[in-house]
Symmetry: C3
């Protein structure tokens, strides 16, 4: 077993001329602060600032990238300590779970999870050996011990990770209690919320009326009309802004947009209140709400993020037993050119608006997204997302987007993660992949080294701050 | 004319650091036995074990990869000796055909056919020059002479190729006579059938009722009901299993799956018996039969292969004159996420089942197939298929699949070929491409050399044996 | 500021073994004459042969690749001197526009526009520094001065660019006056028209009846029937042929083809004359006209070009203000296998016909287009087009097309440009990318250097002349 030291040139092109430039570019930006404008870290960990319970709880149980891979190879979720949808679970022996994970660690070879875990073990926790069946128990104890030390408390890690801004993602009806508590605690980290109204705009959500009721309570009056509903949403946006939010987030099945006449919308809203809606109604209403959200963004300045194309909870068996976010969300083919046309015609030329669009369907990079972002002033391209937040995925993004959209219609990296400890690992991969891409451009004499340096800074730090108005 | 010696480092990355590792990995696995779990070699050649008739008959006439390319450049199929659909043909002068082939051999530059032919000529037949107009006649005679020697008889080649298992593909109503004859001959090669019931499950097949009648004869009673039909199919599967089959094979237009109620299915079956069905009926019935086949596989353990997305016989003019498999099958866009959902929900979590899915639509590698295989325990990804069984095609497969599905949700290589003599050439390309891919990962410090070695063995030998239960 | 000398090895693979071969191949073909069989240069510039007015007018205002990028970053088109659709404009200060362009020149890093401009400035105009805010004014004056010298007159540049054939693109009702004037001037450059009947075949064109009237005037009788319409089109094709045309050009939303019965077509034509048509009618009629155009091509030998998949004038706001071709045409997903089947079944086997197909949807390269072109004798693949006429785009084309279609079912490069001065830059990029692709094949021992040399000549010069019958 060789020492587990990450190679300094990892992920760079093997060609020495490219590698040399990549290393040079990377060294200039590797220590820039992390801007994390989109993610799913639970803010509560920074309120309590208590030690993470144990290695399995930290690395495995909250990370569906990891346990879906184990599941795909026949390992039951129960045996990994994944709680069922009521929150209870059979196996709670962290060490036993960890052993199972270690026994199957070879499955992650060549995957981004493998790359991130290597970084977390080696760089964050200083583990000296690669995890395997034999050393599982020792490594478990080593990590567990560290987790109990002051340097591994959430706030200490936040500082050590050099995070300048961290955005969480929060339901529109969230009280933002934790965000307030963090602020009131006097700890001066910038942890901001992001306004995600999906549960309110998706009429097919089984709990839609419940969410609506919460919205009413929070904004001070029962929601009985579409107009009242819009006003309440506007109030909540204002509330989020006051708590530091700079953006909204919209997860939709398709990026279909269509403006409904107010009367038409009101009628549909009443139908929804009466629980009497069709699939077409739902799609139309979501399409209309993307329009309304764009309008509100032109007014209040919140940056709008749209990420369509995930077939959520594809595996009903797992969903029924374990609930949401269990690695069963599968990408679907997505269409942007026609779907976004109504929105872009109405708001795409408006200088007040920034719309950041993500995709799980890479075929759109060169065909639809780069041409759209390379024309409409309001539209920018979000980074390679989810399954594509990987060495190859991020490289494909640059290779397929840059020639048409350039660099300046993209918005830097975001980690989109629930796994707090993986944040520096993910940003490091992005910085390496971009450095390597730019180095290739320099080595092929497409851009100069001087240009590459400027762009490198922009991709790491400048563009994300500008796009998200940070 | 330079000597026609294949370069030892062919298909490896030109970068010396990658090439060195690729060579090392390749050398460790290049001599492993060939497992060919899916293909179309005619088993009769091993029964009679007679010499292949002549070079044109061996290389050109059965290989639609080759004559479609010649046809695309304006060379009539008649002039290549391709028999019409009644089996008769005008040109039968092997040497004249061979000359025409040689005159146009330059068309295959950069194609997998070119690469395979180079290997077959050079390695299998020891030809010392590249085929061209001038040497065509000499090479023709040289090959023809060799074909008549004992070392070039089918069984001798089978042994020389180091084939451990060869699966043919056989109609559900095939008697498997040849498989029995091979076994009874005492020659102990493992040549196994694969159960392909398409002609029985595709109601739009003009000969469906004829196939049904054959099914009845083979299973001992006339098929008059859906229930009887299912029972007869189950019997045939059992028969195939007894003759060594480990898998079934399903070529469908789309991977649409849907479970019909037994009454509904029975009704539709009766309509089909009366010849009174619509396109929708046909699609629905095929969708339903994929469900039934999955169920049967959970019961009898046969591995299920699904390969959708080919528009068969696109060129009606050629089809009317020459029949099936004349290079006129054109890929279509294919959708998996929604289409396979019903099947995967019903059987995708069942540890008894293995479903191997192929695609002609590469856009699905990263978008749909890798995420599905990276979650569902039953589903595995078949290798790059047909048009994509090529140097670039196989590389794209690894680059687009690995990060989400890992290596262990793939199933090694299969050659899927009618051209027996091309089998070692094809497996050699696959081994080289995989070695090179892994070498790139090592050179970029994504995986260690140690890991690469283990994975290399798995991709060449381990995974295919496991997936196909060999 | 370093000297602005383009590197001799630009765009070649950094690996020295590949680069060496690429350079060798490139040097052999770099000085071959330019064949430009498809483009949009205004022939009038060669009639008058007057100096180009000024740098902004030459580089920026006619080039929607450039100003759409500036617009995407919030720069109003008005400030760039783009005329509105009536042709009037606010800003006409060339130097002010040029300064704005220079201030934002960094936006083009990594884009083909950037690469072409670098070439034009450096090679065509001998500018010694890269354009930036500081040197904008000086460079403006330097270019302006040159434009007034005899060596920079359009005809002088045409000769200097070593253009053997230049095809323009012309409405079917164009008088071809300029083409005649060029010929009559005694200047012996081969500048030929291309027959583009879209305005006549697209029933949804708001000016369709006006175009029809023009067609009638030009062919000597009012068009009152479908039959008369076809005859008039045939006459115009004949007229174009007499003026040197070798091809027709068809821009369609989708490549849908369908043959209408003559009675059905006549009926629809009458409906269109009465202004009473639906979207379905329009689509059907276009589908039918692709069939008619194929038939005519089998008769008169004009090569047929089909380029589908652009959603024209996506941004209605810009279209209403500035009109066509303002960088708002966005690609759409396109389907070929089913759409082209009717046409290919009727004419795809006809040796008299050549159909060159382009796509904006790269997913079709390996899935549909290469398999179709690799089978049908009539069908060839046009080069990487529009957004994909770039270093990466052209490389993707070769990587995804060659293995199935080979090299000989492609037709060389075309520049498709309005920007006359960019022609040598564009052809140079294509020659470099192809040289590099071939060098990679040689370095990987897929093809021999000898083969690569022959193919390189074909890709640059041989195939385009053959395909367009030049």
């Amino acid at each position: 077993m060789k020492d587990y030291i990450l190679n300094e040139d990892r992920f760079f092109d093997p060609d020495t001329s490219v590698r040399k430039i990549a290393r040079e570019l990377y060294n200039e930006i590797k220590n820039l602060p992390i801007i994390s404008p989109h993610g799913h870290v639970d803010p509560k960990i920074f309120v309590t600032n208590e030690p993470f319970p144990d290695p399995s709880e930290l690395f495995l149980i909250p990370d569906h990238y990891i346990f879906r891979m184990l599941y795909s190879q026949g390992i039951p979720l129960e045996s990994l300590g994944i709680p069922d949808k009521e929150g209870s679970r059979k196996v709670v022996d962290s060490k036993k779970i960890w052993q199972l994970f270690a026994d199957n660690y070879f499955l992650f070879a060549g995957t981004p999870s493998g790359v991130w875990l290597d970084y977390e073990f080696s760089v964050v926790f200083g583990i000296k050996e690669k995890l395997n069946s034999t050393n599982a128990s020792i490594i478990h104890d080593e990590i567990k011990e560290k987790l109990n030390s002051p340097e591994f408390l959430p706030r200490a890690l936040f500082d050590r990770f050099n995070i300048e801004v961290l955005s969480t993602t929060d339901a529109a009806t969230d009280s933002l209690l934790e965000h307030r508590q963090i602020k009131e605690s006097g700890w001066n980290a910038r942890i901001i919320p992001c306004f995600r109204p999906d549960a309110l705009t998706n009429l097919s959500d089984p709990n839609w009326k419940l969410h609506l009721k919460n919205l009413g309570s929070l904004t001070g009056s029962e929601i009985t009309s579409y107009k009242g509903y819009l006003t309440a949403i506007e109030k909540r946006r204002e509330y989020f802004k006051k708590h530091g939010a700079v953006s909204t987030d919209h997860g939709v099945l398709s990026p279909y947009t269509r403006k409904m006449h107010i009367t038409e919308a009101e009628k549909l809203f009443q139908k929804a209140l009466n629980g009497d809606i069709t699939v077409d109604d739902t799609n139309l209403f979501t399409a209309n709400m993307l329009m309304e959200m764009s309008r509100m963004s032109t007014e209040d300045g919140l940056v709008m993020q749209i990420h369509p194309g995930s077939f959520r909870n594809h595996n009903q068996v797992i969903y029924d037993k374990f609930g949401l976010d269990k690695g069963c969300d599968i990408p679907m083919r997505t269409e942007f050119t026609q779907n976004l046309q109504v929105l872009l015609n109405e708001y795409g030329n408006d200088p007040r608006l920034t719309i950041i669009v993500f995709t799980l369907d890479e075929t759109n990079y060169s065909r639809e997204l780069a041409p759209l972002a390379g024309h409409y002033p309001s539209m920018k391209l979000g980074p390679a997302w989810w399954f594509h937040d990987s060495i190859e995925g991020m490289a494909r993004f640059r290779h397929q987007v840059t020639e048409t959209a350039g660099f300046y219609n993209t918005v830097g990296f975001n980690d989109d993660t629930r796994a707090f400890v993986s944040i520096p690992a993910r940003h490091d991969v992005a910085r390496r992949v971009d450095s390597n891409y730019l180095a290739g451009q320099v080595a092929k004499h497409i851009i100069s080294l001087e240009d590459a340096r400027m762009i490198s800074y922009q991709l790491t730090y400048g563009l994300v701050k500008k796009a998200y108005k940070l």
